[in-house]
């Protein structure tokens, strides 16, 4: 930038700030509270075309019960089960990966006098439970020492994941990908090097009553719509609750996310994400982080002791480890910050935030920080907080979200249609994009780089995913995808190589 222009800009900014400061009356300007009005929510079941289907659903729990005892394989019970059956797993240690590729299975760990059914990956297995069926329940397990995922959903709808204790399971704790109408509740998750709960490219999701701690990201709502995150206890992560649009994924939006009634406390954990990965850029001490997501309503949370900031809002240009995706709007628009209890945040913030505060001649420890652009956002009772970057936020026209009880649906939604033609696409969306975005690095290398390595060689890629070999020291090892049949592996390889964004 031209030097004199820069100087002029600084002079102007300082002058403006000084003017404002001098003009300030001693009494804060406190706006009267608006009439009690709720956020209307952004979802109408009537207008949702994906709900229209005549398919018969076998209700979970309507079939037989199969009991698994220590020494037996849970996977054998899954193979024997038919849709509607319940699998009860007795307390004891089970060292295996479970694949559920049929619908309406309830997989339940029996708790006896505090003893749970323990899935243990011995630090060698990649995933504890992978499901691609619809109407799946996973309940009451203890899951530990896996390298990849605790519980991952791959394009399964109507899921219920509850009551699980997940300790130190690698990259993602609970990770429903490409699911609709699902609930994640009453789980306790810790020690995850990416997100403890990661809702990816999903719709109508309810994340409630979970405790997540000692992870890089606590709860992450990514490229998903119509989600509620409420009543969770989120502490000592690097970043507490995240609402993201991650660029380079095939589904390009995140909107209509309500984050309410959570404890977001002391999320100051050292960032131990894989270097270069998206979450590795989160500054320790971030309570709630909104990146490019729209219509995010933050209400009634207790947000304390997060050293960088209580709430941080950023566009893609100012976000760490992020690339620009022309298919995604990079700005977080219509963010609404309603009443939240904020205390002792921003006490040891990062240089970027200090620099932002300087431009507004602000002192003190920031509760709320906005970097980059945001359109049509609002805040309620702004005088309560130390803020930076939100002068152009309007006063909110609603002050609660009580009209939106849940985005879960009364009836199960129909399964996604999987045909020979879209098999590759569904696998790409439901599996690959959990770690690979087109342009950037979520966990694994970007898709455009994979395209360069495997151009004109889909078979080579299909063979690799069946039996990956570690090639990059500083990337986590890719888990084998050999549970997919050969035809699907080739279809997904071809689809991946054909993507353009």
């Amino acid at each position: 930038m031209n030097k004199s222009l820069l100087l002029a800009a600084i002079t102007l900014a300082v002058g403006f700030g000084l003017g404002q400061y001098l003009a300030k009356d001693n009494a804060p300007v406190i706006k009267a509270n608006k009439p009690d009005k709720s956020f209307a929510g952004g979802y109408e079941a009537k207008q949702d075309d994906t709900l229209k289907s005549n398919a018969d659903v076998v209700l979970p729990g309507s079939g037989d019960t199969i009991t698994v005892n220590p020494g037996q394989k849970i996977q054998d019970a899954v193979i024997a089960a038919k849709p509607g059956d319940t699998i009860m797993v007795m307390p004891g240690k089970y060292e295996e990966t479970i694949y559920i590729d049929k619908d309406s299975i309830r997989l339940i760990g029996v708790i006896q006098e505090g003893q749970r059914a323990e899935l243990n990956g011995r630090g060698e297995l990649n995933d504890a439970i992978l499901y691609s069926g619809n109407n799946i329940t996973v309940e009451n397990f203890l899951i530990t020492k896996y390298k990849g995922n605790g519980i991952m959903g791959q394009a399964g709808n109507n899921f219920e994941i509850r009551g699980n204790v997940i300790v130190d399971t690698g990259v993602y704790g609970i990770f429903p990908q490409l699911g609709k109408n699902g609930i994640v509740s009453h789980n306790i998750i810790s020690g995850i090097e990416d997100a403890a709960i990661y809702v990816g490219m999903s719709d109508n999701i309810h994340v409630a009553h979970n405790e997540v701690f000692d992870s890089v990201a606590g709860i992450e709502i990514e490229n998903s719509r119509h989600s509620i995150v409420e009543n969770n206890y989120v502490h000592n992560n690097t970043g507490g609750i995240l609402a993201f649009i991650t660029p380079g994924l095939p589904i390009k939006t995140t909107y209509d996310v309500i984050i309410r009634n959570n404890f977001v406390v002391g999320n100051n954990h050292k960032n131990f994400g894989a270097p270069g990965s998206t979450v590795a850029g989160i500054p320790p001490g971030t309570g709630i982080l909104v990146m490019a997501a729209d219509e995010v309503v933050i209400e009634n949370n207790i947000i304390t002791d997060n050293k960088t900031a209580g709430i941080m809002i950023t566009d893609h240009y100012n976000a760490p480890n992020t690339t620009i995706d022309e298919g995604s709007d990079p700005y977080p628009d219509q963010v609404a910050i309603l009443d939240n209890l904020m205390l002792r945040n921003g006490y040891d913030t990062i240089d970027e935030v200090k620099a932002l505060m300087l431009t507004e001649l602000k002192t003190g420890n920031p509760d709320i920080v906005r970097a980059g652009k945001s359109n049509d956002s609002c805040i309620y009772n702004r005088h309560r907080y130390i803020t930076v970057g939100i002068n152009d936020f309007k006063d909110c026209e609603f002050n609660n979200t009580k009209d939106v009880v849940t985005y879960l649906l009364d009836e199960p939604v129909p399964p996604r249609e999987i045909t020979a033609e879209n098999k590759g696409k569904i696998a790409y969306l439901g599996i690959c994009t959990g770690c690979h975005s087109y342009t950037g690095r979520i966990v694994g290398p970007p898709v455009q780089l994979i395209q360069a390595l495997y151009m004109e060689n889909p078979q080579g890629l299909a063979d690799y995913i069946a039996n990956p070999v570690k090639k990059r020291d500083d990337y986590p090892e890719m888990p084998p995808q050999n549970y997919l049949d050969e035809e699907t592996r080739l279809a997904v390889a071809e689809y991946m190589l054909s993507r353009t964004n």
Binding site: P275, G276, Q448, L449
Partner: protein
Amino acid sequence: MIKRFFLSGLIASMMSGPIHAQDSTPNAHSIEQGKQLFQSCASCHGQDAEGQKALGAPPLAGQLPSYLERAMTEFASGKRGKEDHYAQQMSAMSGLLQNEAQRNAIVTYLSSLKTKDIQVPNRSSDAAYRLYQANCGGCHGVKAEGNKALNSPRLAGMDAAYLQRQLEHFKSGKRGGSSRYAKQMQMMANTLKNADDIALVSKFISTL
């Protein structure tokens, strides 16, 4: 290991004439021979193969053997050497590279040279860092240290102007041709949208 080393020493001592360094075990003799041969290269690439910015010569110390071998073979065969005047200078030196045994000795010497530890500052909020990690780091390494398994050369320590030139050559098709690796680089160079991105990422790598 001792056995293998001994065996390769034995074979080497049985042979007269140039050394065939097919076994990758570093061998004192071929290191010494490579060092002597490298003297002809040192005037541009630096006495310790550290590179010379002013002469447009990249550092070679610690570079991946497979990459050095490939680059030298390509200059020797005339596949490379026409990209710009620096490349033409390199092709003028290619007489030295015609002999496989000599090439191997130089590779052995260069890859035996120690390199300094690479420090990547925590600059994840920096656009250049992001661009590098997203577009280059997946193959060339988070620290630009190179990746043997992917045949991607080390970039750390290279000068920004050199890197910028190579990226532009890949983009325009001047460097590369039809080999698989060249095509990969052409494709990735094209993911850098404009001259600013190329300059940004080149500058970032040059600081490592």
